[in-house]
């Protein structure tokens, strides 16, 4: 009995401690460093807490913590607030576009014959397995001024001078919609596929036209999938770095890119930590919502 209890304890403890040490503790460290100041040292901030220096030194260090970085980030003079705002706007618009593109696809998949469905599902998942970076990269060749899209439009005679798409927000939207599409389709598909066909028959039987039946039955019943898909796309899109960096222009302002620049170009670990903490605060509500959705989805009621 004792051995069994020990075994059970171990199964919980190992992943639990791992996540505590490598997921939760790092956040606390980020928070602490966001309260520190930059220094030309290794590591490049102070105060550092060293247990070897004794309690008094630690207490003294505590006094050196301040919210200065937050003041800097939240000041209107710097572009951080703008970046948060425009990230939310870009992620929001992208999510709506994703829903508009993804819903008809997921719907058609769910309406197709049972034999065809696994293949269609596979076709949606397959691009997800190929590298994200590669998929974003592919669009550079398509959207650039001398790229394939412009060549094609020239060929058709639709345009006489190249469209400027690369290095604009439009390219960022295309990139996000393209890379996140499977994340939108899959939850929608699983919600739509679960739906009982006889509900639509019942609606028709009671005098509901197919179009009305969609809005009264199919759409409300797919809402959990819509919700999950939107959160699954929106949250990471807000912090997206690669897409705005590769496809966006110099005026595309997204907080992920700003954080990266602050960290790797300006080398200010403390400011980037403050940016990260604030980003997390912005996202905490959608993340908690997503956790509830996910919990219900996987663990049942």
């Amino acid at each position: 009995m004792a051995a069994k209890a020990k075994g059970r304890w171990l199964v919980v403890a190992v992943p639990y401690l791992w996540l505590l040490a490598l997921f939760l503790v790092p956040f606390l460290i980020v928070f602490k460093i966001s309260l520190s100041q930059d220094a030309i040292a290794q590591p490049p901030y102070f105060p550092t807490f060293a247990l070897s220096e004794g309690w008094a030194a630690i207490k003294e260090s505590l006094g050196e913590l301040s919210f200065e970085n937050y003041g800097y980030v939240l000041s209107w003079d710097n572009e951080f607030i703008e970046a948060y705002g425009s990230s939310l706007v870009i992620a929001g618009i992208s999510t709506v576009l994703l829903l508009l593109v993804g819903y008809p696809i997921a719907y058609a998949m769910a309406r197709s014959s049972k034999a065809l469905r696994p293949t269609l599902l596979m076709l949606v998942i397959l691009p997800f397995w190929t590298s994200f970076l590669i998929r974003v990269y592919a669009w550079i060749g398509i959207l650039s001024p001398e790229g394939l899209l412009n060549q094609f439009l020239f060929f058709l005679g639709v345009i006489d001078h190249p469209l400027e798409i690369l290095a604009t927000d439009t390219a960022v939207y295309i990139g996000i919609v393209y890379s996140y599409l499977p994340f939108m389709i899959l939850p929608l598909y699983s919600a739509l596929e679960k739906m009982d066909d006889t509900l639509l028959e019942a609606a028709a039987d009671l005098g509901c036209t197919p179009f009305a039946a969609f809005w009264k039955i199919t759409w409300p019943l797919s809402l959990p999938g819509v919700f999950a898909g939107c959160l699954l796309c929106f949250i990471p899109a807000v912090g997206e770095f690669v897409i705005p960096d590769l496809l966006g222009g110099s005026d595309t302002l997204m907080i992920g890119k700003v954080l990266w620049t602050e960290f790797s170009v300006n080398r200010s670990w403390t400011v980037s930590s403050a940016v990260a903490v604030l980003l997390l605060l912005v996202l905490v509500v959608p993340i908690v919502l997503y956790q509830n959705v996910q919990q219900r989805e996987v663990e049942g009621r």
Binding site: D196, T198, L199, E201, A202, A203, A204, D205, L206, G207, C208, T209, P210, A212, K216, I217, P220, L221
Partner: protein, 391 residues
């Protein structure tokens, strides 16, 4: 209204039921007509050139094993399937080509198909709202329906907060709310347990009588069909085998298939010896020495190979030979006994190894049964107990 109706129903139910038989009236105009309807799914023929008339206010049952085409026949009336050939008319109007949402029939689904995101109230109001019925009228009708199925206090619940029996009632109320010309019931009681099912069968009959509507029920449960229906159509392989009131189906099956499918039956292979005014004489293969006298023989002619069907409850089992042991009497030994409480089923093995079943009501409370395993017994029946089947 409902108390008044209950009283009225009690007073008139027998009167209405006894007199109701429009199918025997040549001047009666059927409400629903299937005319040479065929439905094929690819290679498979689900309904095979079938014609059927159903009359107004009739409670009509389609009975058959799964895959016999009974559900397809019903779904064609609802509009979920279109016939490959033939015509379906409702009150003289051709229904073919009309989408389900424009047909004046409603269906109660086997799975109930209650909308999970709507309350009981909204589920029942759904059909009325599609017709843009004015709000007050919707509310009044929904309340009336809730009362009819005795769910007044459950209006605000969601389907998942109801028991199976309650869901069944909501589904019924929803499909009745629009007062359809015909109510289609697809295995409506399949998901209920036996007791509740029996109760609900009688309730269904009362509701049908009270609303004066035409009900078409699909079921594979012969007891259910016999209980509720005015007429039963027994189906097999997409064709109608027999269409008749329950008692006729049971007592005068027109073929082996019906005799076997409806109720329990002993079927003996036999040959017709002679036919006369008083009936016919048979020789059963199982008892070549014993002449069998049957009072009704249909179209059987001397020399025909036929089946002799006798229901178990019409067979007498005795330890002593009956008064007239020269006719319709077989001797055998008790092979096995099934005690069902109200009845005991005796399996009697005849000398050539064929076994027949005889049911005997347990009239006394004797725990020890007088007839027991390995007893030598006599099985006999009267000439009007058996049916000669030529098909």
């Amino acid at each position: 209204m409902s108390t008044g109706v209950a009283e009225k129903t009690q007073k008139t139910i027998g009167g209405i039921r006894r007199k109701f038989s429009p199918w025997t009236d040549p001047t009666a105009v059927p409400l629903i007509r299937y005319e040479n309807v065929t439905k094929r799914f690819g290679e498979f023929t689900a309904v095979d050139s079938l014609s059927l008339d159903i009359y107004e206010r009739e409670f009509f049952a389609l009975l058959g094993p799964s895959g016999c085409g009974k559900t397809t026949l019903m779904r064609m009336l609802a509009g979920f399937e279109e016939p490959t050939e033939g015509r379906i008319t409702l009150a003289g109007e051709d229904l073919v080509g009309t989408p389900p949402y424009r047909r004046p029939v409603n269906m109660m689904f086997q799975s109930y198909a209650l909308f999970p995101h709507m309350s009981v109230w909204d589920n029942i109001a759904f059909g009325l709202r599609q017709d843009r019925v004015e709000k007050g009228a919707v509310a009044a009708r929904v309340e009336e329906m809730l009362k009819l199925v005795k769910l007044e206090s459950f209006a605000k619940r969601k389907p998942h907060q109801l028991s199976g029996g309650q869901r069944q009632r909501v589904a019924l109320a929803r499909s009745l709310a629009k007062r359809p010309k015909v109510l289609l019931l697809d295995e409506p009681l399949g998901a209920l347990d036996k007791k509740l099912r029996e109760e609900t069968q009688f309730e269904l009959m009362d509701i049908q009588m009270e609303l004066g509507m035409t009900f078409l029920i699909v079921t594979h449960d012969q007891e259910e069909a016999m209980t509720v229906a005015d007429r039963i159509a027994v189906m097999n392989h997409g064709k109608l085998v027999q269409v008749a009131p329950p008692a006729e189906i049971y007592e005068q099956p027109n073929c082996r298939y019906v005799a076997d499918f409806v109720g329990d039956v002993n079927i003996l292979d036999a040959r017709v010896e002679s036919v006369d005014a008083g009936g016919l004489t048979l020789r059963a293969e199982a008892a070549p020495d014993m002449p069998m006298r049957i009072s009704q023989g249909g179209e059987a002619k001397p020399g025909d190979s036929v089946s002799l069907a006798v229901r178990p409850e019409k067979l007498r089992v005795d330890l002593e030979p009956p008064a007239d042991a020269s006719l319709n009497c077989l001797s055998g030994t008790i092979w096995d006994i099934g005690y069902l409480g109200d009845l005991s089923i005796y399996h009697v093995e005849l000398p050539n190894g064929v076994r027949v079943k005889a049911a005997k009501p347990n009239l006394t409370r004797m725990v020890e049964r007088p007839i027991t395993w390995d007893d030598k017994v006599y099985v006999s029946f009267t000439p009007d107990a058996g049916v000669v089947l030529t098909r």
